[in-house]
Structures are given as C-alpha cells and as structure tokens.
Symmetry: C2
Subunit: 445 residues, 2 copies
C-alpha cells in the first residue's frame, strides 16, 4: 500500500516581463508563473506533479489555495484514490466553505486545477502510461464517471455522454495509428505575434514559423488599429494567403467596438478573432459572432468553468473552444467540455503557451481526436516556444505537430534546479533580483 | 494633507457553524467570516473600514489578496483619492498581473470589494455623511464617472446612464423625506428559515417575524421535497396567505430538476425561487423563469460581476436582482448594476445577512430609491438578525424597515474587542478552540 504523505506547493515565477514575451493588449507585463504541486508518496519512485498557470502577482494566492485544496489528500491510499478519480474530485470540489469563494471560479478553482492535475499525473505514472493513453484506455462508462456533469443536464445528459464515447470506441486505435503516421497532432504558433515585438522581429519570426511547417500563425491585436493593419499586412506578405492567420484581442473591447474593429481588419481574412471582449460575456460573444461572420469567434483561455462553456455552446456564441488545462478543474471538468463540444459541433482548439500549458494540452488534444471528436478538421492546438527547457518531459513539436508523448504522466514535472532558481521570492534568481528593489509596506497582522 | 499610512487586514471568523445559523442545502456549516480592511491615515481621527464576506476556510486567501490590492493606496493623499473614486478603482482593478486570477471574479474580486468598500467608507467619513447620503448628494455626471461601465455599452451607454439619473435628480429630497416618514426602507427576514432549524423553532421564529411587522419571510429549500412541503405548509399556517413567502435553493439543482421541484411547490404560492441553479447560468435561469412563471426567479448573491448581471438582464433571466455588496467590487461596480436594472425594469433586492452585509446594503437600497429606481414597488431588502452586535454603527430595523443610517461612513466598522476575540487563528476565541483540535500536515516551502 502506497500513501500520500505530503503536498508540496511551490511559487514558481519566471521573469518573462523583461523580454515582453507574452505581451498583448491586456496583459502587458506578465511574469509567467506556476503554482506547482508535488504529491509526495511513501514510495520514493512515485510522486504526482501538477500546476496552475498565472502571470505573476497573486501566484502566491494560488499556492496558498492549493495547499488547502490538497490537505484532504494527505494520508490517502494511492491505489484507492486513482481507482476513484471522480470521487477524489468531488471530495475536493465539495469543500463547503471554500466553495463560497467561487463557486468554481477564480483562485480556488485554479487551485483545484493545480491539485487535480497532480492527481491525474500520479494516476498515469502509477499506470505507467502518458495521460492521453490512460484516458484512451478507459471505457465510456469510466470516463463519464470521472466527468463533472453537474449543472449540465439541460445540455448533455449522462446517457448522451456515454453514447458519444461509445460511437468512437471501436475505432480508437485507428486514430492513434493515424497520429503516429502523420507525425502527431497539428498545432499553430503564437511565438511570432506578441504585441511588444518590433516589425522586424515579427517578420523574422513569421518567416521562421512558415519555414518550420506551420500552416497557422496568430497575431495579437487591439491596442491600435493602424498598428494592427500594418502588422497583419506584414503577416500576409510573409505567410501568403493560403496559410491561416488568427488574431487575438485579449478582451480589450466592448461588444460594439469589437464588431467595428474586427470588420476593419476583415480584408486580411483572419480565421478567427480570439477573446474579442469579456470572457464572461456569452451573449456578447454571440453578438460579435453574428456581426463578423464568416470570421470565426474563439474564446476560452479565461473560460472559468464548464457552466460558462455550456452557455457558449447553447447560445451559438463561438466557432472555436479554447479551453485551458490549468483554469478548468483538470480532466474531470475538461471531459465535460469536450463532450458538450462534440454534441454542439464546436471544434476544441485548446489554449496553450504560458508555462507548461503546451505540455498538458497535447495529451488532451490527442485524447479528443482518439476518443471524442474523431476528426482533425478545423482543429489546431496552440503552441508557444517558451520555457519548455524547465520540463523533464517537454512537449516535442516537429513540423507543426505535437509528437505523441511516450513517458508516463502528464508531462508536468519540472527540474529540481528550476525550483531552486525560480521559486519566489527565495530562489536564487529572485533573491538576486530583489537586492535592487524596494518593497512596499503593508501590515501583517 | 492627510495620507494613508497603512492597510491593516484582519481575518475575522465567527463560529456560526456550531448553531447551524446560516445553514442551507449547499452551505451546510458556514463560519461567517470577513476579510476586514482598515485604511489607516496619519490623522488619528480618520480611518476607512471595509470588508468582504466569506463563510470560513479561504478567508485567509481574501485577506492575503486584500493586502495586495491595498498596497498601491499606501502613501496616497486622502483628499486627492476621495476626489477621484473612479480613478482609484480603475488603478486597483487594472493590476495587469492580478487580473489573470479572475478576471473580475473569485478571490481577487472579493478582495477588491473589501478594499474599495473601505475607500468608500473613508470618503463618507471625510465628508461627514453616511454613504447613502454621500451618493445622494452626487450629481448624475459624478456618479457615472465613478461607475464601472466597461463591457456594458451594448446594454447601457454612458449617456443613457446619465439620463436615468437626471430623471430622478429633481425629486431626490422628496424620497428621502418619504423614507423618513414611513420609518425606513422595507426589508424581509431570513432568520426564521434556515434548513438546520427544527419545525418548532421554525414556527416560533415565523410567528416572531410576523409579530415584528414583516410582510415577507424566506425559507431555505432543496434538500428534501417532503421536508420542503411540510415547512412551507407550516409557514403558510403561521404567516397566512397575504404575507409573501420566498424560497431559496442555494444552487443545488440542475435546470430540469429546478423546474420540476419548484412546480411541485407552486401551490404554496412563493413570490420567488432564489438561486435555483448555478449562479453562472444565465441561460439556465432564463429557462427556469419561463417554466415556473408566475413564480419569480431571483439570484445575485453569487453574481460575480457586472458582466454576469448584464446578461441576466439582456436574457430576461431574472425577476429580482440580488446583488451583493461584498462580492461586487464595491459601489463603483454596484452603481453600474443598479443603472442597468433600472433600464431593464428589474427590481434590485440586495442579498444580505452573513456578517455586516445588512450594514452595507441599507445604504445601497436607500440610494437606489432616492436616485435611481424612484420606487419601492416589488422592492424588499434582506435582513438577517446575526452578528450586528460586533458593529459600532449597526443597522437598525424597526417593524420591517431599515431605519436611515445617520452616522458618517458605510457602517462597516467593528469593535476593537471583536478583532481581539475573533481574529483567526490567534484571537482569544480561536486560540482556546484550537487547543482541542489536531491540525493537518502540509509543507510550507
């Protein structure tokens, strides 16, 4: 019998604001960060690793919340726990007092993601499989038992969910073989298009992306219309008109402004406009979608929970669902979103980038193709070439495809040295940086 | 010149779970709590007091977040700050890194409420007015300048907001006089109907409520249909059929279940069903509303931000808007919700209870009548008789009315002794309680 004996939570922060990597119209100066959870067992060979992603200040709040979320796991038998991944999730999610702080949104939900991602990593390590295969080996009933279907029955019943999975079950292996044959799951790159980059850097990175085999690239827009026109013009010059160009406004507009602005950029033929307005605004996205068609509407990286996505589908608000592996409460909640997306016919193109999100979403996209959607049509998963060097089992992208992960787990483990250098505020990087900084005064009571 | 020199934040928790005060189908064991902010100035006579409300575990997260939110206020000139309450709000809300943790929801938004409530309290103290009068003395333009209208322009433009306020401006004093004459702003009581109470206690408390002049009472429902029938039967026996009976399910149902359950209780003629399902589910509330009419649908205590309320109004999802003074980001955001409610013709009946919420919402309801809605029709504000003894300037309810507050501020200040006894975990109450408790193990790294 193997038991969880500790839950270690680290406040990892990377100083990405210094290079404007990740800069956009809303998030100007992010320091990519992770509240990183290690579920330690009494077997020295077995731990579970997971995290949620933030962009700096407040990562400590997620760390503190993850400690509280993980507390009930300490002392639990690992085999028993991974045999009931739905029950574990419901136990943690059901905390009657923490629930008030959401419910199911914000810091306490991000912390649920961090802890449950570590639980799924642990389950996959125990099984000796990568997460995508662990999921692909589960029966429709097993998958639906772990999925969080609460509040969804007006859109998707348990029976419908099982039916969706059964339809694809007999042909799962064919699609795994197909992914192996084609070199992996298709992705696009955002690495070229950050708002803080110069035109020359943009042009160079776009060229590199096309040369590397990408068929899709994405630009950040929304700060200045003339700049957007110029940058989209550069993009079309470099990538041509056959490759797909996506644009991302990161929530800077009200609904009427979004409609006007996007229509001003329509002649560059963008595939989608991402995050045109508040991520909470289901009806707003539906209005934008009607007004900018045939340009698609995409959102989801700030999609707080499955109830929001349910409404996005019910209202016909989006053309692309960009769920986030560290904002939704892990695979339990993500499964529900994939199943609804299938029923409503909306392709899921997960958000990635940040730190470690690419490592997670490759598993999700592969599983989706194998067991849920059964198609690659209109599917493309984000890839950003940042910070992968910190991961023990980093994602591998070759010619615009995520290669199928082969190591056990969720690819979430970072190197010990990364913890030593980038833990905030005492890791060696931050300790050195703080010597030149003054710190504000606030009472600790 | 008076300057803010410190932001003290206290983790106040009251052991209400011991008596099942506040128990309902979702929140079974809340320890009513507040992340309580004191903005200290260099004038010993002037501080600002505010808080957000939680139900126990995780209150520490709001405390930590409020410290971060308040940090930019330290060193600011008070007169300059209260002269630009819209600018202060935008400065704090615009933190480019904390935003990722919502945006505008969950812990970081609750912390915005705590800090900005203290700023509004400070502004009113400096002006020597209760908050309701401070607001009632502001011009339409001044009010709209402090209101957060971002993401709302498809539902309410700035010009429409000014127009709404101008229409009511000439007759504000008449309505203040009317409230004085009638004894205050009408309220209802939830004190009788907590789910954990016995039938005898329910009957006794309902009788006391009617004898005290209440025309509206509310029961918690949703755990067991037979229990709900029996308790509603008792309620109608005691209060008769002229008084209004409201029911509150605290989010326990999926949409189809909500419709079936409420229709089973329809013959008790409830005025509204409150929180029938997930608070995030705009389209779900709209579906419930269509299916249970003429029973009204009410929600809002978990309404995370103004964008959610915008959609509730646009979708015709609710009959009563129950905004929360400590969940929305203070008066800046609440003003926007009141203005939209007026445009869409939805009465606002604020959520209260908890700890200190009654103290806050009385100011809001009075201001709404005086300057926005101009009517008391279908308006009734929650009142729960809990924990008022901890407040220096507690709300006063006489014969079912909130008496107009007369002291300067937002009625949010608690006694020093309360801080000494109920601060968690070192206040004298909790220190004594912890001696018999074992504490779980989790690493602090």
């Amino acid at each position: 019998m193997t038991t969880i004996i500790d839950a270690q939570v680290y406040d990892l922060r990377f100083p990405t604001s210094l290079s404007l990597d990740g800069s956009d119209a809303m998030n100007k100066d992010g320091d990519y960060s992770a509240a990183y959870v290690v579920l330690v067992t009494d077997d020295p060979q077995l731990s579970g690793y997971g995290f949620t992603f933030t962009i700096g200040r407040g990562n400590d709040l997620c760390v503190a919340a993850a400690r509280q979320r993980a507390l009930p796991l300490i002392g639990r038998d690992v085999a028993n726990m991974v045999g009931d991944l739905g029950g574990v999730y419901r136990d943690l999610a059901g905390d009657t007092q923490l629930r008030w702080l959401g419910p199911e949104k914000g810091v306490v939900h991000l912390a649920m993601a961090a802890v449950m991602n570590a639980v799924w990593d642990l389950a996959a390590r125990l099984a000796g499989k990568p997460v995508w295969r662990l999921l692909s080996d589960m029966s429709p009933e097993e998958l639906v038992d772990v999925a969080d279907l609460r509040y969804l029955s007006d859109a998707l019943t348990r029976d419908e969910a099982i039916e969706i999975l059964r339809e694809m079950e007999p042909t799962r292996q064919e699609r795994i073989d197909e992914l192996d044959r084609r070199g992996g799951y298709p992705c696009y790159t955002t690495s070229a298009g950050w708002l803080g980059y110069s035109d020359d850097k943009l042009r160079r990175l776009l060229k590199e992306a096309v040369d590397s085999g990408y068929q899709h690239v994405k630009l950040k827009v929304g700060a200045n219309l003339e700049d957007d026109r110029r940058r989209m013009g550069i993009a079309r010059e470099v990538i041509g008109w056959d490759a797909k160009l996506m644009i991302d406004a990161n929530q800077v507009w009200d609904v009427p402004e979004a409609i006007d602005w996007v229509n001003e950029l329509a002649h560059f033929n963008p595939l989608w406009i991402e995050e045109p307005t508040s991520p909470d605004d289901v009806l707003g996205h539906a209005a934008v979608r009607r007004a900018v068609a045939p340009i698609g509407v995409a959102t989801g990286e700030h999609g707080m929970n499955r109830v929001l996505f349910k409404q996005m589908f019910q209202a016909g608000a989006i053309d692309y669902c960009q769920l986030d592996a560290a904002r939704l409460a892990s695979i339990n909640e993500i499964l529900a979103v994939y199943l609804m997306a299938k029923k409503f016919g909306v392709p899921v193109c997960p958000h990635a980038g940040g730190v470690g999100l690419c490592e997670l979403v490759q598993h999700l996209s592969i599983f989706d193709y194998v067991a849920v959607s059964g198609t690659l049509e209109n599917r493309v998963t984000e890839y950003v070439d940042h910070l992968h060097e910190h991961f023990v089992d980093p994602c591998i992208v070759v010619e615009g495809n995520y290669v199928l992960p082969s190591q056990p787990g969720y690819s979430a483990k970072v190197f010990r040295e990364t913890l030593d250098v980038y833990s905030y505020p005492k890791g060696s990087y931050w300790a050195a940086a703080s010597e030149s900084e003054s710190v504000g005064a606030v009472s600790i009571l």
